[in-house]
Symmetry: C2
Subunit: 165 residues, 2 copies
DNA sequence: GTCTAATTGAAAATGAATTTCATTTTCAAT
DNA sequence: ATTGAAAATGAAATTCATTTTCAATTAGAC
């Protein structure tokens, strides 16, 4: 599924890659886990793409590089990456969990086409401010939020409905 | 799971109930479906509660009134209610789809405690405005959005973590 | 190099959501 | 009231993403 991105997100540079690996390895050490080739390949593959990947999609990409890496390991590594802040889950409500990398990214949200699934990112500091304000108001220790807008993208609107309603 | 609500939402009155039934029946007629006792019971049960119900939770409530109604029928009726705007899905990312009734409700959003699951509603016209603005900017025909804030509620913060992290 | 604890990945399990299908019910036309 | 076609029902089966299990393998501290 196409994931168009109009954003500030440059492809991960060699230095960025190293920096991210460093964060990951430090996290592993901290929680008493080990450094493995599989985790390495998975992290690099994940950082190389700009897309919003499901576990299965990342697994397929990883497998192109090393056919011996299993789905379960990708699944578990994705959780680890989320733990140390390098990845975060984005829920587009299409039935699968998706992750995007969060390394050197500024806060953003998504607008998703309900017909073709394309997603575009947008920036809205107001929304971030709201999280903080509302949290304070209701005495919640607010840690995160989700905000997605759903609708028909221009192409799908012109083409007419593709999915049965 | 407790669903505290601090909102403008009065319990559905007898007249409201009739009005909602009217909307539902008109919708059924429009799409060539039939009026049945089960659908009646399910709609009434749904309107009687203020909670954010999963299909299974609604099924249990319905079963108290009529033990012969099946889970599948509740599941399907909930979809019908969503189709005609009487219900809408709310995703709290706890693994189950929840519905809340949307009859005579004004736009609102939810703040969810990640520890105990309590949810409180809040109102934020700014968010609704954003949907419209962003949609225009990116030439999307925006139809809906989701906005949830996650964090620790006051009680859970005081009590300390309950769930393993 | 040894040893222990962590890792791996195939397979199985889980569980919510959805579909199937034989039976029953609705409702419009008689 | 009767009929018959189309829709509804609900128990059971299926689907499918996610998560767990477990025996074999591997990392890395000593």
């Amino acid at each position: 599924m196409l994931q168009r991105r109009i954003d500030d997100h440059a492809p991960t540079t060699r230095e960025g890659m190293r920096e991210a690996q460093d964060i990951f390895y430090k996290h592993l050490k901290r929680v008493g886990l080990k450094h493995t080739d599989q985790r390495d390949i998975i992290l690099r593959t994940f950082l190389e793409t700009r897309d919003h990947l499901s576990t299965d999609e990342l697994f397929r990409l990883v497998r192109k590089k090393d056919a011996k890496v299993g789905f379960t390991t990708v699944y578990r590594t994705l959780k680890l990456l989320a733990e140390c802040g390098l990845a975060s889950e984005v829920a587009f409500h299409d039935g699968v969990a998706r992750y995007e990398h969060q390394f050197n990214r500024r806060s953003h949200h998504h607008m998703v086409c309900t017909d073709c699934g394309v997603s575009v990112e947008f920036f809205s500091p107001e929304v971030d401010k709201l999280e903080e304000e509302i949290g304070r108001k209701y005495h919640f220790d607010a840690t995160r939020h989700t905000f997605q807008i759903y609708g028909l993208c221009e192409d799908c609107r012109k083409r007419g409905p593709r999915k049965a309603v």
